[in-house]
Amino acid sequence: QAATVDEVKARGKIVVGIQGDNRPWGFVNSSGVQDGYDADIAKLFGKDLGVEVEFAPLAVANRIPALVSGKVDILFATMAMTEERAKSIQYSKPYAANTISLYGPKEKKIVAVADLAGLEIGVPRSSSQDKAVTDAVATTATVRRFDDDAAAIQAMLSGQVQAVGGNQFYMQRLDEAKADTYERKIDFLTTFNGVGTRLGEKDWNETVNKFLDKIMSDGEHAKVYEKWMGMKPPAFPESIPNIPFTVK
């Protein structure tokens, strides 16, 4: 059953839904330990609450169901804030930014969406880039949806797709795999990630927002951000249309 903040404090343990294989956001490292940007922020949150943090690595498509069904208490799971999702979960203030772009081989000329016609484009199923790419190409190109980033990137490396929709970290990973072969082609949008809690649960939402305010003002947030993103945190918007940051 879904637990309240007080119940979590009483039991001394918070279950955090997180991605298990999305470097550098949330991933299980080679020693089998949960790591990444989200993991560090979640650990700060746990410290703030004074509870132990237990990570539940979730597949992309399982994140919302796991939260709604009470399997996890909260999502630090690279959740891009969308209107559609805001109907299912409550977002906090944004705490990270993500740019969704299209990546492809250098020798392929892609400068506009129109150049994508007839191509096969890989995306992780149910991700922001899935939505962005699908909306952009409509029926002119084939969108191939894989289980996760790993599979989508692998598909391009294997030549199974000619482009992938990805976030700002894809470039680094593609370079690691095959240096100087791929490049960023088209930016679709920048999305912001929020912490996910269940709809209507005011206690969770307020606690999280207060925590975010705190780490953003005392510099902790910037430290973690630079560690994982290799850049300073951008300016986050005060509001996003149709996506409330607080419970009314």
Binding site: S30, G32, L58, A59, A151, I153, Q154, S158, K178
Partner: protein
């Protein structure tokens, strides 16, 4: 980190640990319930036979992947707090009990009718007849098929990845993505499965030959 070093191997081995654990859970759970299913399937009670026949046909007629999904998402709907462990345990148990139940039903029915008649004539009751006379013979007959199913089950646990288990196959996918050496990684993963499953397969084949030789005598 473009090489497959000790870390990566260690990671794969941790996945292997889950694979073995999940297989063990499925086999034990499936074994216990499968026995009940087999007994129900061969009982004198027609509606019980029918029900278990339906049970078997449902779980043999749907993909394990779907069983995992439905249980994983379904259990919370009936208001129970579960983690992936419980879901996977339930799903694998349901799945394995249907297959093992069917295998064992066949074996129970293959025990000659004279055996249960002799037991009846001696006045032995259902429990003793089943436990002392029928099951020991049936289990022996079914051993090759049972071992064969165990191999299927070990391979089937690779699907538990979808509810969040980083077992061997999933670990392989992750390492492949970190090292960009899919040929090598899937080769290793395949080899590890092979190393576990092949001896079992050989053992099953040997048991089968031995039974066939005994039957030919």
């Amino acid at each position: 980190m473009n090489i497959i070093g000790p870390n990566e191997i260690l990671f794969l081995l941790q996945g292997l640990k889950w694979t073995i654990l999940l297989s063990a859970i499925g086999f034990v759970g499936g074994g216990v319930f499968g026995l009940l299913v087999a007994l129900a399937r061969t009982s004198n009670w027609k509606s019980l036979r029918r029900t278990t026949a339906g049970y078997i046909s449902v779980f043999q007629g749907t993909p394990l992947l779907m069983q995992l999904f439905v249980v994983y998402y379904g259990i919370t709907l009936i208001g129970m707090e579960v983690d992936a462990w419980v879901a996977v345990t339930i799903a694998l148990t349901l799945h394995a009990s249907a297959y093992l139940g069917e295998i064992w039903r066949g074996a129970i029915q293959a025990v000659p009718k004279g055996q249960s008649e002799a037991a009846n004539a001696l006045g032995l009751h259902y429990v003793s007849r089943t436990k002392d006379i029928i099951l020991p013979q049936a289990l022996r007959l079914s051993l090759p098929a049972t071992v064969g199913f165990l191999v299927q089950l070990i391979k089937g646990t690779s699907l538990a990845a979808i509810v969040g288990f980083i077992e061997l196959a999933r670990a392989g996918q992750i390492v492949s993505n970190q090292t960009y050496k899919p040929l090598l990684v899937f080769g290793i993963v395949g080899a590890v499965y092979f190393v576990i499953c092949w001896p079992l397969s050989l053992y099953g084949a040997r048991l089968e030959n031995r039974l066939a030789a005994a039957a030919a005598r």
